[in-house]
C-alpha cells in the first residue's frame, strides 16, 4: 500500500472526515462495550488533519502522535488494519504491538509515531536531515499539539531545524487541551505560532475547523518548505470535543466553550457549505454516509477476525 493521492475535489475531503469520525466512533462504542481498549480520539479535529495531509506529496514523510487516526486515514491507511492494531491483533500495521497510541505505517510514509508528548518534535530534525543528506525529495511534516509545544523538545527542535535548514513543516494542532489541562493554564502566549517566529521560522495560524482553509494554508506552507528547504510552522486552531482518553466524562470542560465549538463542528459545517454551494446533493450526502458506514463495518469485521499475535512475538523485534 502507498500513500493515497491528495483529494482532487471537496467532496473527497468531506468523505475523509466522515471516515475518520466513523472510525473513531466505532472505537468509542467498542470501548464502551468492553470490546476494544480506550483510545485518544481526534473527534472535532478532522479538518485539521485532512486539510494538511491532502496538501502533501506521496514522497513526503509524516511524524505524528497518539491522536493519529486522522493523519493515518487521510494518508490512505486501511481502517481494517488500523482497527486490528487498536485491538492488538496480528494484522495491525505494527503486528498488534503498538495499539492505538504509536501507530507507524512506513509504507504510507507515516514514520516514528510516538505517544510521548513532544517526542515527534525531537525526531523530526533527524528524519529531515536524512531526507536532505540522502538526496530524497520529500519534506517532513510533524504533527503535534499545544501540549507538546510546551515541552522543551519543541523549542530545541525549532532551533535546530532553523539552524540546519531542515525541510520540516511543523503543524501544531492547537486543540485547547493538554490532557486534562486547558491551554490557558499552560501557555504563556495565545498561539504557538508566536513562539516559532522567535526562531526565525515563518508561521501562520489558520481556522483548523475549516477544511478548505486548512488545505489552502497547508499547500502554501508545504510549497514554502519545499522551495526554501527551510522549516515553516502552521498552527491549526481547533478543539478536542471528546475527552483526553476514552472513557472521559469531561466534567472539567467549560460547557459553553464546548457548545461553541460543537456548533462549529468541521463535518457539519463543511457539509452544509457543499450543500449550499450546490457541490453536494442530499442524496449524495446520504450515499456518502452509507459508504463510510459500510467501510467501517467491513473494517471492524476484519479486525475482529484477525488473530492475536503468536506467543513467540513477545520478544521479536526488540533488537534488530
Amino acid at each position: 500500500m502507498t500513500p493515497k493521492p491528495p483529494a482532487n475535489n471537496p467532496q473527497q475531503l468531506l468523505e475523509q472526515m466522515l471516515l475518520i469520525r466513523a472510525y473513531e466512533e466505532a472505537i468509542v462504542n467498542g470501548s464502551a462495550a468492553g470490546r476494544m481498549p480506550g483510545t485518544c480520539t481526534s473527534v472535532g479535529q478532522e479538518a485539521a488533519a485532512v486539510g494538511v495531509v491532502n496538501a502533501l506529496a506521496a514522497e513526503d514523510l509524516i511524524l505524528t502522535n497518539h491522536r493519529s487516526a486522522g493523519h493515518l486515514l487521510a494518508r490512505g491507511a486501511d481502517p481494517g488494519r488500523l482497527l486490528a492494531e487498536v485491538m492488538g491483533r496480528r494484522d495491525g500495521y505494527c503486528k498488534g504491538k503498538s495499539g492505538s497510541l504509536h501507530i507507524s505505517a512506513k509504507e504510507l510514509g507515516v514514520v516514528l509515531t510516538s505517544t510521548i508528548v513532544g517526542a515527534e518534535l525531537s525526531m523530526a530534525p533527524g528524519v529531515a536531515l536524512a531526507q536532505s543528506m540522502l538526496g530524497r525529495p520529500g519534506i517532513v511534516v510533524c504533527f503535534f499539539g499545544d501540549g507538546a509545544a510546551c515541552e522543551g523538545s519543541f523549542h530545541e527542535s525549532l532551533n535546530l531545524a532553523a539552524l540546519w535548514n531542515l525541510p520540516i513543516l511543523y503543524v501544531c494542532e492547537n486543540n485547547h487541551w493538554q490532557a486534562f489541562v486547558h491551554r490557558r493554564e499552560a501557555m504563556s502566549r495565545e498561539h504557538v505560532a508566536e513562539w516559532a517566529t522567535g526562531y526565525g521560522i515563518p508561521a501562520r495560524t489558520v481556522d483548523g475547523n475549516d477544511v478548505f482553509a486548512v488545505l489552502e494554508a497547508a499547500q502554501a506552507a508545504a510549497a514554502q518548505v519545499r522551495e526554501s528547504g527551510r522549516p515553516c510552522l502552521l498552527e491549526t486552531t481547533t478543539y478536542r470535543t471528546r475527552g483526553h482518553l476514552e472513557p472521559d466524562d469531561q466534567g472539567y470542560v467549560d460547557k459553553a466553550e464546548l457548545a461553541n465549538w460543537l456548533a462549529r463542528d468541521p463535518i457539519t459545517t463543511s457539509r452544509a457549505r457543499l450543500l449550499a454551494d450546490g457541490l453536494l446533493s442530499q442524496a449524495q450526502a446520504a450515499a456518502m454516509a452509507d459508504e463510510v458506514a459500510s467501510r467501517i463495518a467491513v473494517a471492524q469485521a476484519f479486525a475482529e477476525a484477525s488473530p492475536f499475535p503468536a506467543a513467540d512475538e513477545l520478544t521479536r523485534d526488540a533488537y534488530a
Binding site: 503486528k95 516514528l112 509515531t113 523530526a124 533527524g126 523538545s153 533488537y319 534488530a320
Partner: protein
C-alpha cells in the same frame, strides 16, 4: 604496533568507519571543534557541532538512524544523558518493537564517565546499568584503546542503538592498537589473565585494578582469573559462568553504585546457573550509594581499589 590513547582510538574508529560508509555521520557537543580532522576529511555536513541540548541531539540521531543514516553522537558526560533519556529509552529503544519491526536505529551515543578529573557527580556518574535495564539498547564500556577502536567500529555497524561509555580515567592512557581493520563482536568478554583460584569480573578502569590485584594475589600464591566484560549488553554469560565453574569463587567489581549495578546481575546469574560450583559466597565491590564528590581523595575512594579487591579475593580463598 601503533600506540594510541583511548581518545585517539575513538577518532581512529570514526575515521575508518566514515571512510568505509558514507551514511556514517557524527555530531554533538563540540565534536567538530575537538575532532576538526574529521571535518577536514569528511566535510561540515557529516561532522557537526550542535547546541548544548542533549535531547535534540539524541532525538535527531534517532530520526536520522531510522531513515538510513548511521549517526554517532557525542553527548560529552554520562550524567547529561538524563536530558536524552526519552529519546534514547522511549524512542530508540522501543520504537522498533512497537512498530512491529518497521524501523531500526543504528546509532552510537558516546559519553564519558568515571573518576579521574575531579569533576563531581554531575559529570561523573556511571549510569551504564540504567541502559542495560532498558530494552532495545546495547551497552559497551571498554578498558583499553585497542578494544575501544574495535568495539566502536562494530557498534557503528550494529543496527541497534549502542551506548558507548568512555572511562575518563583511561582517556589519555596510551595503549597498543592493531593497525588496520580490527573488529570485536559485542557481547564477547576477554579473559585478560587466566587463573584457577578466583574469578575477578569487571569493566572499564577497574579491570586494571583487578589486574593489579591479580599481581598482588599471585605473590601470595593465589591465581586469579580476570575477565573484562567489555560489553554489558549483550553480556557474555558463557565466559563468566565458565570461569566461575573452574575457580568456584567470584568477585565482581565496578565503579558504578553497587546497588542494582551490573554486579548484582552477574551475582544472580552465577547463583542461578553455577551455584553448585561455588566454594564461597559471591562478593560485589562497587561505588557507594552516594553522588561522587569532586574532592580528589573522596572521588578516588568511590572506586574499588586494587587493595580492596586483593583483600576480598584472599578472604574468599581462605574459606
Amino acid at each position: 604496533m601503533p600506540t594510541l590513547t583511548l581518545y585517539d582510538a575513538v577518532g581512529a574508529a570514526l575515521t575508518e568507519e566514515m571512510r568505509r560508509d558514507h551514511n556514517v555521520i557524527a555530531f554533538g557537543e563540540g565534536i567538530a571543534t575537538k575532532r576538526h580532522e574529521l571535518v577536514d576529511e569528511f566535510g561540515a555536513l557529516r561532522v557537526r557541532n550542535t547546541p548544548l541540548a542533549e535531547g535534540i541531539i539524541a532525538g535527531t540521531a534517532v530520526g536520522a538512524a531510522a531513515m538510513g543514516l548511521r549517526p554517532v553522537v557525542d553527548l560529552l558526560f554520562a550524567p547529561f544523558l538524563c536530558y536524552a533519556m526519552d529519546e534514547l529509552v522511549n524512542s530508540a529503544g522501543k520504537l522498533r518493537y512497537l512498530s512491529g519491526g518497521q524501523f531500526s536505529f543504528p546509532l552510537v551515543t558516546l559519553a564519558m564517565t568515571g573518576a579521574g578529573w575531579g569533576v563531581g557527580a554531575q559529570h561523573n556518574h556511571n549510569v551504564e546499568a540504567w541502559f542495560v535495564h532498558s530494552p532495545g539498547l546495547k551497552v559497551v564500556m571498554p578498558s583499553t584503546p585497542a578494544d575501544t577502536k574495535a568495539l566502536l567500529k562494530t557498534a557503528i555497524r550494529d543496527d541497534n542503538p549502542v551506548l558507548f561509555f568512555l572511562d575518563i580515567g583511561l582517556l589519555y592512557q596510551p595503549g597498543e592498537v592493531p593497525a588496520g581493520e580490527h573488529l570485536l563482536a559485542l557481547g564477547q568478554a576477554a579473559i585478560v589473565r587466566e587463573g584457577r583460584d578466583v574469578t575477578l569480573v569487571s569493566y572499564g578502569k577497574t579491570v586494571h585494578h583487578c589486574q593489579q590485584a591479580a599481581d598482588q594475589l599471585a605473590s601470595q600464591g593465589i591465581a586469579a582469573e580476570v575477565i573484562d566484560l567489555r560489553s554489558l549488553k549483550p553480556l557474555d554469560e558463557a565466559t563468566i559462568l565458565g570461569s566461575v565453574r573452574k575457580t568456584g569463587r567470584l568477585v565482581v567489581v565496578h565503579e558504578a553504585n553497587r546497588l542494582c549495578g551490573i554486579g548484582a546481575e552477574i551475582a544472580a546469574l552465577v547463583a542461578e546457573h553455577a551455584f553448585a560450583d561455588l566454594k564461597a559466597p559471591i562478593v560485589r565491590q562497587g561505588g557507594p550509594d552516594a553522588p561522587v564528590a569532586a574532592s580528589y581523595p573522596l572521588e578516588q575512594a568511590s572506586v574499588p581499589s586494587a587493595e580492596a579487591i586483593t583483600d576480598a579475593a584472599r578472604r574468599l580463598c581462605s574459606t
